[in-house]
Symmetry: C2
Subunit: 193 residues, 2 copies
């Protein structure tokens, strides 16, 4: 489990064996079965989670009971309701497992302590957040600028693995589309070839 974590940390920072040992202490391993919840809206999000294996989805539910996908996380990704995790407010998103999943979880206090004991972790997360930030920036631009079909094509090009691994109705929701619309888009694209 920890090998996966460290291989990701080492892409961005250098760590001594000693530091690795310190870091290990703060994490709690956990396994989730397919369909099992990691977080339910209304609860406080207690953990920031690193996915070692498997696939999670996070989504929120609106007043009408509709689900809206907001991100996926698999091997090497972090997930949580960031807002809830860092502020202690109630979460507005749900996270559950699309596949059997293995996690490393860390609490807010442990996170604080870890960054103080190993300041390099501030650097790691600075780079990590900075990267997600510009990904989100681009995604937001794309969602305002492009048509439904363009968004789908962009996604297939920028992240083909995701499209293969995740059910189509969730991809549709992730793109802000009705499942019927995505189905029609795929048909159109196929026919044009």
């Amino acid at each position: 489990m920890f090998e996966v974590l460290f291989s990701h940390l080492l892409e961005k920072i250098l760590l001594t064996e000693e530091e690795k040992e310190i870091i290990k202490i703060f994490f709690i391993p956990k396994k989730l079965r397919k369909r099992q919840y990691l977080l339910q809206a209304g609860d406080v999000c207690k953990y920031l989670c690193f996915v070692g294996k498997g696939l999670l989805r996070s989504y929120n539910v609106d007043d009408k009971g509709e689900e809206h996908m907001n991100m996926f996380a698999w091997e090497g990704w972090w997930t949580s309701d960031m807002y809830s995790f860092f502020t202690g407010e109630k979460a507005i998103i749900n996270i559950d497992a699309l596949e059997d999943t293995e996690l490393l979880m860390i609490t807010q206090q442990a996170f604080e302590e870890m960054t103080l004991k190993v300041p390099k972790m501030d650097r790691y997360f600075r780079i990590l957040f900075q990267n997600s930030l510009f990904t989100k920036e681009r995604r937001l631009i794309s969602s305002n600028t492009h048509t439904a079909e363009e968004k789908y094509i962009n996604l297939v090009e920028s992240n083909p693995a995701l499209v293969k691994r995740v059910p189509q109705n969730l991809i549709a929701s992730y793109l802000g589309l009705a499942p019927e619309t995505l189905s029609r888009i795929k048909k159109n694209i196929a026919q044009r070839k």
Copy 2:
């Protein structure tokens, strides 16, 4: 100028006088007149900029020549094309001044050096990026979940100062709406009262 910067840094981290002096060295002050560009799409974004005074907008232009607002930055905010700044790729966004503006700018190399000399700055930017990340997360959720009117009402409630300070057509664009649509929404809201 630097007082504004330090007052913002000190909200998140503690700095010695010595560290402050080091940090100062890396920044370049700059003034912009209203309508002047800070960054044009196609150029590489050389600077990460802290706004000490004034107001900037960042937006991108699509294939059809339409402008799409993506964020505003005023006193105490940072702005840049994050992706371009950190990767050295060409920028896809434009940034220009909506009001006369005073900035503190830092290059990529200077940024790297600064974080190595003052590791607390990694912490500062970790927290900063983490906060923007969950703001963007919420905004993305909102943009997929809500109707045009709900988005506008949310914005007015969450950021009334922005709505007062920025021309209405830019607010419309920021929300992904046609200016006519926002005008009608405001009319509807006013009539219902």
